[in-house]
Amino acid sequence: MSDAILSLKNVATDIAQYHILHDVSFDVPRGKVTMLLGRNGAGKTTTLRTVMGLWAARAGQVMFNGEDIAAQPPARIARKGLAIVPEDMGIFGDLTVQENMALAAVSGPIAADRLELIFTAFPPLKTFWDMPAGNLSGGQKQMLAVARAMAEDRQLYLIDEPSKGLAPAIVSTLVWAMKSLKGAGASILMVEQNFAMARALGDYAAVMDDGRIVWTGTMDELANDTALQENLMGLSMEVA
């Protein structure tokens, strides 16, 4: 891959006494969607958190736009143009939807056209603008989590299982929003267990197992090779 916005080089991460990531290396191409796939416990979430600085890498380099950000605190990493949508969504339930969005706009109020885009993608957020975010449904919280990441221009989005537990209609909305982001030139590194969504969005894929990258390639290669899918993940996308 020629122009990588993010490159992990031999990254190792420990959580307490456990070695979770071992020698993880892969690239995220600029302007593309890279899916991070693998079984439960493979190390996908740890990889995203390590990139964001929420867990410190013990070894290796996390190169973002050519700069090693591995030892930097999360706030500084975020201000370089990364946004994370965590698996638990990270919604501030006691704050209103509006306050959640205001907090996401680090450099000032959200631009009107951007807010319009967000409301177009996620109408419930406009409806419940002044309501505590804790009262939203699971799907609406996920919309807010993604919308929050969209509040300002970001170069790379780290998105962890956005479709988890959501109804198909809401998943369609999220897919539409991700495509909008991609259309605007953003790069996305996404963990996703919903293979239909992964296939709909992904340009590239990296497969993890036991804290290691075991395969990288295009999404099409993976999607069209059932034997490879079963070999890497123990099941095929067709079955899923």
Partner: protein
Amino acid sequence: MSQAPDHAPTMQRLNLVQRITPFVPALLVPLIALLGLLFIPSGSSWLTLTVSGLAMGMMIFIMAAGLTLIFGLMDVINFGHGAFISVGAFVGVTVLLLVPGMTAAPSVGLNLVAVGLAVIAAMLATGVMGVVFERVIVRPVYGAHLKQILITVGGLIVIEQLIHVFWGPDEIFLTRPETLKGAITFAGAALEKYRLLAVGVGLVVFLAMRHVLRHTKLGLIVRAGVENGEMVQALGYDIKRVFVLVFVAGSALAGLGGVMWALYQEVITAHMGGQMLILVFIVIIIGGLGSVEGCFIGALMVGLLQNYTAFLVPKLALVSNIGLMMLILMWRPQGMIPVVKAK
């Protein structure tokens, strides 16, 4: 751009109980006052005790408000907070003793200037002390509760001993400024002037804190940080810098509380902060860790209950607040208005 897929927004409608529940803690303060009115035979005694209880509650709130945010933001248990109360009292009283002409004059203006100078000196001293305490004692033990308890208790003891070194081992007596002595009579009840002032100051501090927390970006970051500090960092805010700010503000407020408590009791000792810490922790726990509103309500409940009980059953006064804490925790194990998630 293509149209987003249709999605009909719905939100679960809250039933009556769910709508009332958030307001229940705030109703407990008038409920305790009403219970007091039922049991205290004289209306004027009840009014005197109520003002006294509210004044006490306001002072405890001022001492506790910073500590609850400190815990909420960074999960730091700071037993050294009592030292800021003591140091604030000693610095403030020292200033008051340096301006006897102003405190003895029968002039409201001069008296308030003297108290104002004492408060500014106390808050500056404890604010600076807060910076040093956070950097030297608290920062090395982030995330380690047992170490936090041990080292902050150690810090409290060291500072109490330093107070002995600088001010001597004896308690210091003081008298309130001239125009803050005595009481006014209202509806047959004697209401101490100083207690009325304390109620006013406490209200101003509460409303100012609420304004900052509800209507400024800094307040938004603090409220979000109390709920989920990691996510605040991931959004691009340096939560540790915000924590230092809150720590300093909380220390300065403890200093203010120390001066006010000194003028209330008219005597100060190096251990007064440590002794107040018990009430401060009770208020924080029943209010809900990290909640300024909960802390405010809890402080008023503690103040009122202690005054009513001391009047009705003096022997129970000391345990009344422990009993209140037990009842609240049986009803809401995370406190009345929990903000910090169980850890």
